[in-house]
């Protein structure tokens, strides 16, 4: 159907949209299944995996630390301001803030920053490999591109995201503690006592599970868009943008699903 026909007929428009969505979803799921199959049936390429892990961790670490520090400051100051305004008392702030940091902020800020950095990088790299026929060349040499390209990135990103989110959580809590001490008048001891009352060990486990899932999703989405990159000058750019948008949305939705699931365990 032509674009004009589609605009005139909303039912056709919705139909075509649905068909395209189903087709893309199926292609994505196929890629996920193939990747998992390669992951469990073959040993990963060690050197490439370590290189990718270095790429994930090294460049992102300082950006993430920088951002979570600011997130901690804002969380503390804002919640204190509003608590004081409403109930004239901000004694709950240290406890609430540490809970929020561990359950949400640490993992999600890490994941979103990783998406914009390594997710975009992977989509662009694989997309340009596709456009310049390198992926075809791999196939001609009998090399499985999923095993060769996606599996190392998947492992590196998953490990990297878990490690980075643990660091992000620690730094974020530490920054919150300093803010509490300097601006709100709660000593470090008081902060830690409050934190211990609110936070359980399982919160840390759940935070790591979240980071694991986010780290798993980013390379899959990026590599999917890279592999399906259109030829032509704008192909790689489009694939990169789309991969960042989709991975970010996927992370937010996944965060909701995981938080909802974990709420049964609290």
């Amino acid at each position: 159907m032509t674009t004009k026909q589609l605009i005139q007929n909303p039912f056709a428009f919705i139909g075509v949209l649905l068909i395209h969505t189903c087709r893309d979803a199926r292609a994505f799921l196929t890629l996920v299944v193939q990747t998992l199959f390669q992951l469990v049936t073959h040993l990963p390429r060690k050197k490439e995996t370590i290189q990718q892990l270095y790429f994930v961790a090294n460049g992102s670490l300082w950006t993430i630390i920088f951002c979570v520090c600011f997130a901690a400051v804002v969380t503390m100051l804002e919640s204190s301001f509003h608590m004081k305004l409403v109930i004239q008392n901000d004694s709950m702030v240290p406890g609430f803030a540490s809970l929020l940091i561990l359950r949400e902020l640490g993992a999600i800020v890490t994941a979103l920053l990783l998406t914009s950095r390594i997710g975009a990088g992977m989509a662009a790299e694989i997309g340009s490999m596709k456009v310049t026929e390198q992926i075809d060349a791999l196939k001609m040499l009998g090399i499985n591109p999923i095993r060769f390209l996606i599996v190392p990135r998947l492992i590196a990103s998953t490990i990297g995201c878990v490690l980075l989110s643990i660091i992000a959580n620690l730094v974020c809590i530490f920054a919150a503690m300093i803010v509490a001490d300097q601006f709100l008048g709660y000593s470090n001891g008081m902060f830690l006592t409050a934190m211990r009352r609110f936070v359980d060990f399982q919160d840390i486990i759940f935070a790591s599970i979240k980071a694991f899932c986010f780290g798993f999703v980013i390379p899959l989405v990026s590599c999917y868009f890279g592999f399906n990159c259109r030829t032509g000058a704008d192909g790689v750019g489009r694939a990169t943008t789309q991969s960042v948008v989709f991975a970010s949305v996927a992370i937010i939705v996944l965060d909701f699903v995981l938080s909802y699931t974990f709420s049964y365990f609290y």
Binding site: T132, Q134, G142
Partner: protein
């Protein structure tokens, strides 16, 4: 050796190959000429399963490969080497590793034998002293020649070249054409060469096929093509004469 029967390939609503019928005999050098965007690259990629046809059949060495799975194509891809239109070298590997990769993958060879073969393949394309460089550090023309060496080093029975000499200087172009010719004469390799260059097609091809808008508009020996009445073929001949 290779037979296409009514091959059709579309992308979305656009039909690129509209029923190709061709027969390529073993040991022949076949040139495929055509204007940009007529589907020459698509034809080659269908042959080795990098793209799949919508309908029609492809026979290679007596096997109908049209319905083959990715695994079944592995043996076909060992038999048929392809030199892509882009150099398509792996950026993360050195030139040496790029060429040696296939040898390591397909043959169990001693390292010094691999080294010897790699150097031999590079000298075939007039290159030396670049073994430890990365693809990004050499010129585009050199990358194209390395990519040729990477395919030729495996000594496949069938060689598919997608514009092997586009963007190269006349001297190198000549030596690559000689290389294609000598591979075919010495090793009895079957070659399909996609090209825009009628002049060299007339010189070294055994058979020339002219494609236009996804269809074969004319084919025959160089001699037969010189007599052709098809306008596009006449244009190509005219162009070759003016060079």
């Amino acid at each position: 050796m290779i037979k296409y029967k009514n091959l059709v390939k579309s992308f979305g609503t656009r039909t690129v190959l509209k029923g190709i019928d061709l027969h390529i005999k073993a040991g022949e050098i076949v040139f495929i000429l055509g204007t940009s965007g007529t589907g020459k690259s698509v034809l080659l990629k269908n042959t080795v399963g990098l793209l799949r046809p919508d309908s029609g059949e492809i026979w290679i060495d007596g096997e109908n490969v049209s319905g083959y799975s990715e695994e079944q194509f592995l043996s076909i891809r060992k038999k048929c080497g392809m030199v892509f239109q882009h150099p398509a070298l792996f950026d993360s590997l050195t030139i040496y590793e790029n060429i040696a990769y296939g040898l390591r993958k397909h043959f169990s060879m001693a390292e010094n034998e691999i080294e010897r073969r790699v150097e031999q393949a590079l000298s075939l394309v007039n290159l030396d002293n670049i073994l430890s460089k990365r693809p990004g550090e050499i010129s585009y023309g050199m990358q194209k020649r390395v990519s040729l060496a990477r395919t030729v080093v495996l000594q496949p029975k069938v060689l598919l070249f997608d514009e092997p000499t586009t963007g190269l200087d006349p001297v190198t172009t000549n030596s690559i054409n000689t290389l294609i010719q000598s591979l075919s004469r010495k090793l009895n390799t079957t070659s399909m060469v996609v090209s825009h260059d009628m002049q060299c097609a007339l010189k070294i091809a055994d058979h020339i096929v002219v494609l236009d808008q996804g269809q074969v508009v004319d084919q025959g020996t160089p001699k037969q093509l010189l007599e052709s009445e098809v306008p596009l073929v006449r244009d190509f001949l005219e162009e070759a004469r003016n060079q």
